[in-house]
Symmetry: C2
Subunit: 529 residues, 2 copies
């Protein structure tokens, strides 16, 4: 099975990955990765998933990491291949997803010749990686892979990038001997828990701002107990990586996107307890608005940072408060899903009615990837009344993540349907995703929020005080000429599709397709609100 | 027209670009680029071209730079938006194309908040940029834009990247006062010309290896004179950025891709005179093959490096040799286009017959972008017998450049038809290009070399000695499941299309479409050779 008596470097890497619990590799390999491709072929256990663009690989690794809570591999080709994956590694870094990137590199002896594909891979990798290492000795590669998995796997997750020169992949390697040792996230001190407890003496002026693993089920169980004891208000960071949401989970107000809406939400409270969320900041810096939402006269209590053990901290806080051992979340104030649906079916198909229909029809256990941007942003509270689900957003803001992230989520959770709300401008960034959905038969229903443009650019022009948009500016924000036929594109890439123009059509097609396995795309042609 | 009495920073940048001869901006802007979008709107003269993915912007800037010999702008959104353009900036760097990137950045005062889209832009930009600057003072931005154009415009061309914080775009700027000063490329010394002259005393054992501007018309006129005087052999670098080719131009042997074919070509000569080409190296490092093709016992004479004034050097060499003042290139040894066509129409549609048909039908003055990879690589000598044309390849090896580069070439040369030979696997990287072709009505005929896979990966597996390819490896090199319906995808993105399965069908459709303006896609379904 090898070029040698024992094992070569590439085989040692794949064996080490397998021994470290890795089962998936999102790949787009080339010549410098051939020994790794051979090793994937010869060593069963790591499933290779081909994507037709590297951004699909890295976005999928993000989605996989969020749902599996352990890393997948990416396998990328030299600097330029890696570069195509950077944008969604940026998103994965902000989502704190565990990801291990393998980058094939020119043979060590060939690099001095500066061949055409040679470039400074480390300079490209560092901005998105917590750990970057270049293999120097073939017999060390297995241990370096293990180290990459260890770095990536510290909860909630980090990105580790291992550069593997071609000659080292071919040279004799060593089998992994030492077991994986994953460090636990840092525990918060008793003092910090007590500070939060004291802040909750007057709970009516306090909000807990939840983020990272503070929005997963173990933390939310503690949050429900704290709320049952204190009645404290609950906020969620604006762009959670993963939020366990829907009926039975605590009702949490998501921070709005624009500062003029977010600051008043924060300003209602004297004290903000941060539980897994960093101090909230504006997505962009606008003249006359602050970077940080919490004003100097407000009190910030950092119970746990996003990379600390927020779940244990919330449980300790619940205990310190004398909260009941178990709490049932109060029923949502929002109307029931059936009422939402009925109220939405009569109107036009807009971002609001689209979001309402999707929330109302969501099957229990679904995964929602929301990259609806301007079409869904103001309406995601509908998901509070939906069946229990995992709700994923885009913490890093690199658009086009939606469909790739859905691929990774679907592969991590093959028994759960995935519903993607995909803005059209963003969706075109990674339209190649549809082919991988078809190839792998993934149970992903993609809803294109089709407003024929980059609506956010128009909104930002308005916000900047522009009253008359000329032809040249308009040409940079609309996608009306030509109109994209999403149904044709989707079918061309192997995913069946339908176009809908009313809430009723959307409900009919979505209901029908949710009952069937496999991928489907719905081109939801939206009217302005 | 401004937020201020005078001019703001963004307007000063666009005015400076206009004053520096820039007329085109390939853009995909977001919130941090709004003032620049407004400036493009308010100041006529710079044409914004929207692409639905940043790689299309940068690849188009490469193609524009090659054909216009002056830079276009790109306008990209923060680190992640820029990252999506890196792969084709890598190609542009290797092509030595002039390109000026503008990157919108967070407001200076907002960066400390580490907002979601914040990242280390310089670290991403440096590997592909000869010059990177971050605006610090709004009144300096115009001069910095001018400096970027000056850096980029030194022949053959370089990449300059200017980072523009949002608040500086909005702050009062200064109009450009100093004129553009573009440095001439370095002249080569008389000694180097004389060394080449002496090497040509025995011309039968000498080859001139041409690259960069050595393959453009002014240089080729001198090369024809040198050849008329000496009978020296002529070679071209393996992946020229732009090669003026076809009937009436000197017959030049292109270096093959794989070292086992390229080394024997080089080994026929005792002396290699480098004229615009660097010392040729293998694309990848294979065990047992050298990095450099020129062996130690051979003589290398560097007449001019790719960034030196190769045109003047070749003219001086022609004069030193006493070459005739004007030379007509001998007719090609290859059969005439009509014979090539007739010989190709009867067989199967393969890479060979496809390339032959395209070469035979090429209209005079066409631009050919060849990203056919394994489908065209062995057959491009057919273009020697074609009508005179500009022949573009991919010097950097970052796949997917073909369609974006064609966009830039078509915009730089609106009166010349563009024919793109586009490998299917590579084409999927930047399939969004089709929409921009449709939107701008560009006269580009795209021929998909459809072999349903990444054929190179299979070839490299064979070369690595793999006799049995298993399912997992196979899954990383074929695109057969599902088959991509390129006609459907193309029409969905606004470009009419047809599928052809014989050389005759290809000839019929191509001939018909070349007679009409606007974009068209031909899905050429290829059989194995």
């Amino acid at each position: 099975m090898t070029d040698h008596d024992g094992i070569n470097g590439a085989e040692s890497v794949i064996q080490a990955a397998l021994a470290s619990g890795i089962d998936t590799c999102f790949a787009n390999p080339g010549t410098t990765e051939i020994p790794l491709v051979r090793a994937l072929d010869e060593i069963p256990g790591v499933r290779p998933v081909l994507a037709l663009f590297e951004g699909v690989c890295t976005g999928a690794a993000d989605g996989y990491g969020r749902m599996a809570s352990r890393p997948a591999l990416t396998l990328l080709h030299l600097g330029p291949g890696f570069a195509n994956g950077i944008a969604y590694l940026h998103d994965a870094r902000r989502a704190r997803s565990p990801v291990v990137n393998l980058i094939g590199e020119h043979a060590t002896w060939h690099q001095a010749a500066d061949p055409p594909l040679h470039s400074d891979i480390e300079s490209l990798a560092r901005p998105v990686s917590a750990w970057v290492k270049r293999g120097q000795v073939a017999t060390n590669l297995a241990a370096e892979l293990r180290e990459a998995v260890e770095v990536a796997s510290v909860k909630p997750g980090r990105i580790a990038t291992l550069i593997l020169p071609h000659d080292l992949q071919l040279a004799p390697g060593s089998r992994l001997t030492e077991p994986l040792q994953i460090a636990a996230p840092a525990r918060v001190s008793a003092e910090r828990v007590d500070e939060a407890r004291r802040a909750l003496v007057n709970p009516e002026s306090v909000a807990i701002l939840l983020g990272a693993h503070g929005l997963r089920d173990r933390a939310l169980a503690a949050v429900a107990r704290i709320q049952a004891r204190t009645g404290v208000s609950l906020l969620a960071e604006a762009f959670p990586a993963r939020w366990e949401r829907g009926l039975g989970r605590p009702v949490i107000t998501r921070l709005p996107y624009f500062p003029e809406y977010a600051v008043p939400v924060i300003a209602r409270f004297q004290t903000i307890i941060l539980a897994g969320a960093p101090s909230p900041v504006s997505f962009f810096g606008y003249p006359g608005t602050p970077s940080h939402y919490i004003a100097p006269q407000q009190q910030t209590v950092e119970l746990a940072g996003p990379e600390e053990d927020v779940e244990t901290a919330l449980e300790e806080l619940a205990a310190a408060l004398g909260a009941p051992p178990r709490a049932t979340t109060a029923a949502s104030q929002s109307p029931a899903a059936s009422a939402i649906l009925n109220n939405s079916l009569t109107g036009h198909l807009t971002g609001r009615t689209m979001t309402a229909v999707v929330a109302a029809l969501l099957p229990p256990g679904a995964i929602v990837m929301d990259e609806g941007h301007t079409s869904t942003g103001a309406h995601t509270a509908y998901f509070q009344a939906a069946a229990p689900h995992s709700y994923l957003t885009q913490p890093g803001g690199a658009i086009g993540l939606g469909m790739p992230c859905a691929i990774g989520a679907a592969i991590a959770c093959p028994d759960r349907p995935v519903v993607t709300l995909q803005a059209d401008g963003s969706g075109m960034y990674t339209v190649q995703s549809l082919w991988t959905m078809a190839r792998e038969g993934l149970n992903i229903k993609t809803i294109i929020c089709n407003n024929s443009g980059y609506r956010i650019v128009g909104i930002e022009m308005q916000r900047a005080g522009v009253t008359r948009v000329g032809d040249r500016a308009r040409s940079l924000m609309e996608m009306e000429a030509p109109q994209i036929d999403w149904v044709g594109v989707s079918r061309g890439l192997g995913v069946p599709a339908a176009r809908v123009v009313t809430p009723g059509e959307l409900a009919e097609v979505l209901r029908r397709e949710l009952a069937a396995p496999g991928p489907f795309l719905i081109d939801a042609v939206l009217e302005a609100e």
